[in-house]
Amino acid sequence: MVADDWDQFPEGVYEAMRTGRSSRIIIGVLVALAVLASGCGDADEAKPNITLVTNPWTASFLNVAVAEQILENEMGYSVEVINIDENEAMFTGLADGTLDAVLEIWPSGITVGEQAFFDDGSVVNIGELGVIGKIGWFVPRYIVDEHPELATWEGYRSAEAGALFSIAETGDKGRFLGTDPSYSQFDEYIIANLNLPFEVMYSGSEPATVAELDARVSAHEPILMYWWTPTAAVSVFDLVNVPLPPYTEKCGASQAAGDDGVDCDYPEDVIIKAASGKLREKAPDVFEFLNAFTITTDDQLEMLPGAEIDGEDVADVAAKWISAHKDVWSAWVK
């Protein structure tokens, strides 16, 4: 019915355009609005905008939301939050000042190229966040209960273990579920070097991993996957970590270089914060604030269930934490 309206000739518009009358009216209106807009501007013009980075996982959203709200409500800054992957482009953004700070960097994921940004000072390490993270292999607890030998990696060497975790695509082998390709993962090397009858399949994104986990756990089926703590999912789905061979220096060197020699567990990550080298000059008080900013593993575990399980707004969860811990954060604000 409406499709043929296109054929009609909107003469009124062109006449108005030709006479230029309505364009004058429109310009007048725009000017008036602009004048009004400038009159109504906020008082904080002098303070620069601060851009904080979130990476695509909930804990990162929460840390940043806490910092954002304190910066906005207590320090009068306006904060923009940008969600990007933890990759070299993020470091480039920090280095050129497009981004001001990132509050959660997992040192095990820092590549050689990214380290260069710390080395030349264009990105500054501003201390530990206060959270100890651990990436590793996880299975639902019922798997370990039913197959006690699967509590450690040695149990995964048998063909039966592979068959237990197999799916249509992997045939006799077991499936190891990898995740978002921007997360640092060495599972293909670990599996090859430890000679395990498993094959890595990547979910491609974290939402897909969670959806698959939900599907398997709700059906009480086996699943072996890449995951990490602290996360709410570990308690929601009752996941347990499967220890791999202990971390060695040689293996750590392979992890840093990203070569195929990795045959050990992921290291414990003392999570750090980083800021743009330009932030100290741009907004010294923000730099000091972020430097002092600390969120502990307990703080994260306090906030995560609200955001991940109860589905509350990240902003609301962060606001709750802020109002409950004034004693903690008031020391960061000077």
């Binding site: 030709r18 482009a89 953004g93």
Partner: protein, 633 residues
């Protein structure tokens, strides 16, 4: 039929089949021990590109290329984005729905006006207005750029034959390129964030506005142009006062298409860190909040509805029904005073009335479906993988020697068109192999074939049904619109819960996305069959069924082939989405390249997708031409 012919004429008739057989047999035998494509140019492109990427990262702050061109440009775009954003947030919340209502109501369609105005209010009502504004700003700037670039280009194409000849293959190629292919180079020049996402959107959405501008100008009757010249107008004046105004409806149709294409990519732009609705969709889905994901996805549908209705209202206004100047003036004045009142009273942000939480019951429904339909969805998933995906993929990569596939496809090209196409296909496929993308491409091709078969099996019968009944077509309309505009991530993640991570969710998403053009174009073909042919068929006593099979379908075959061509293109556009849910292949490689800023690999994957898209596009277009009935004499 030449029944009297001997062996000689049989040979003449069948020699190209014999050639195919002989070629396949020889090549298969010759290459029986060669495992995979020798990737001779594996790093030929990626190495220099990676070097350039490293160089650009190191020199972004110092080299003139960045300090005088890219960085100022990207700053300017950022300023544009921020101003649109703050302007939209500055306007009191109730003004936009009212303005949309008035705009659409001008074309005397009250119902559409109410629909559009409700759609305009929707993002605010569910508490997503601020996020939506980010996306709207990106779209506004991107569409503005597309128009500023596209209209002059289109005019140049219309006025200069040579420009047109040069541009046509470029536009053809651009329309076959899936959007995310542009992400990697944009990230190289503009870093990450909303700016590269805007530029990728501009390039992706450019072709329709160029094409339709050219078409519009060429359609201007030559008498009009001649008359203008006779009255002494210069070429410039003729263009401005005669050709452009007369072409305006067509140009506007192009702009609308450009807007819709831009809308299709804004959610995916979250891969580049563009924020906005895409980021929100990802975040809700990570929390397993299907309902909220749908609520967020519907925002995109709402924007599409608003822009579509407003666009039609502006383009469809004609003087006889348009309200007088007085009414228009009063409406503008009314809206302005509303803005003033709102600002003065301070009633600016959306009141918190409702929330995406209202959609939470959908989550329970999802859990119920998960627990009760699992036996069916899992079974289907495993059947597709065991009986189709794995055997076909392994046959194409392991059993069949790669030269056989190249030769066979080229042979098909030669049969449906000519040897030019055969050479082109052989070249394109060899290129894919040489850059080391053979196995990944075959993997993706297998999934594409599955999705295309499924889409066609559904779309053609539905299209035939809709083509014969206006009522069915009208009823299907909104559903098809929703399929095309709702961001696929919203339904693909729940699909993972039902079908498990792997190729199947991606295939389902592709089918949903590819159905609308398939159904619509088939319906168009069926309904365009001339009334006389149908009457003639009935007069000869054909049953409706016979009429359909003997008359309608053959006469619509060419159009239906165009529909299949569109289905294939849509499915290819979804390749990257399947990479986000475990589909592997080129899709996962693209996601990985964009997310890890692996520029070299990103370029190679992009080139492989484009080569594959062009081969499939040319083949199906040539096929469509063969079905075209000879022109009536």
């Amino acid at each position: 039929m030449d029944l009297a012919g001997g062996t000689g004429s049989l040979l003449r008739r069948w020699w190209h089949w014999l050639l195919l057989l002989a070629g396949v047999a020889t090549l298969q035998w010759l290459f029986r021990t060669v495992d995979s494509f020798p990737a001779g140019l594996d790093t030929f492109f990626s190495d220099p590109i990676d070097r350039f990427a490293r160089w650009s990262q190191a020199n972004r702050r110092t080299h003139w290329l960045f300090t005088t061109i890219f960085n100022p440009f990207s700053d300017a775009v950022r300023v544009g984005l921020n101003s649109v954003e703050s302007a939209l947030l500055w306007v009191p919340w109730f003004v936009l729905p009212i303005a949309v209502f008035l705009l659409v109501a001008r074309s005397r369609n009250r119902l559409q006006a109410v629909v559009a105005s409700l759609a305009m209010a929707y993002p605010g009502v569910v508490g997503l207005w601020e996020v939506t504004v980010e996306t709207l700003a990106l779209m506004t700037i991107a569409v503005l750029f597309s128009v500023l670039l596209g209209v002059p280009l289109g005019v140049a194409c219309a006025l200069h034959q040579r420009v047109n000849q040069a541009m046509r293959p470029v536009l053809d190629a651009m329309q076959t390129v899936p959007a995310p292919v542009y992400f990697v180079p944009m990230a190289l020049f503009f870093g990450i964030g909303a700016v590269p996402a805007t530029m990728a959107t501009v390039i992706y959405a450019l072709p329709p506005v160029v094409r339709l501008t050219t078409l519009g100008i060429m359609e201007v009757p030559s008498q009009a142009v001649e008359a203008s010249t006779v009255f002494g107008a210069s070429r410039r004046q003729t263009l401005r006062k005669v050709q452009l105004p007369m072409a305006m409806p067509t140009i506007m149709a192009g702009v609308t298409q450009t807007i819709m294409m831009a809308l299709g990519i804004v959610v995916l732009a979250t891969l580049l860190g563009a924020g906005g609705l895409g980021q929100e969709v990802m975040a809700t889905l990570t929390q397993r909040r299907t309902g909220r994901g749908i609520a967020t996805g519907l925002t995109v549908v709402a924007i599409a509805v608003v822009l579509d209705r407003v666009g039609r209202a502006i383009a469809g206004m004609d003087r006889s029904t348009a309200p007088g100047r007085m009414v228009t003036g009063m409406a503008i004045g009314g809206v302005l005073s509303l803005v003033l009142v709102g600002r003065v009273v301070g009633w600016i942000d959306f009141p918190e009335m409702w929330d995406v939480k209202a959609f939470d019951p959908i989550d329970d429904l999802m859990d119920w479906i998960r627990d009760n339909l699992r036996w069916f969805t899992r079974g289907m998933n495993d059947a597709v993988i065991i009986w189709f995906y794995l055997p076909v993929r392994d046959f194409l990569t392991e059993t069949l020697a790669w030269p056989v596939l190249v030769f066979g496809t080229a042979w098909t090209g030669w049969r449906v068109r000519n040897w030019h196409l055969a050479v082109f296909i052989a070249g394109a496929l060899t290129f894919i192999g040489l850059i080391g993308m053979w196995d990944l491409s075959i993997d993706t091709l297998t999934q594409v074939v599955a999705a295309v078969i499924l889409s066609v099996v559904i779309a053609i019968p539905v299209g035939i049904w809709a083509g014969q009944s206006r009522r069915v077509e009208a009823a299907l309309g909104p559903l098809l619109d929703a399929f095309q505009t709702i961001p696929s991530l919203v339904y693909i993640i729940p699909a993972v819960t039902l079908f498990t991570v792997g190729v199947v969710p991606g295939i389902i998403a592709s089918v949903i996305y590819a159905l609308p053009p398939g159904v619509r174009i088939t319906a168009l073909g069926i309904s365009q069959v001339p009334e006389e042919s149908l009457e003639a068929s009935e007069m000869f006593g054909a049953s409706p069924r016979q009429t359909l099979i003997r008359v309608r379908l053959p006469l619509a075959a060419a159009t239906i082939m165009v529909g299949i061509n569109q289905v294939i293109m849509m499915v290819l556009a979804m390749v990257i989405i399947s990479g986000l849910v475990g589909g592997g292949g080129l899709g996962f490689e693209t996601v990985s390249a964009v997310k890890n800023s692996d520029v070299g690999i990103g370029f190679e994957v992009g080139a492989a997708i484009v080569a594959m898209a062009m081969v499939l596009d040319r083949l199906t277009q040539a096929g469509a031409d063969r079905f075209r009935p000879p022109a009536a004499t």
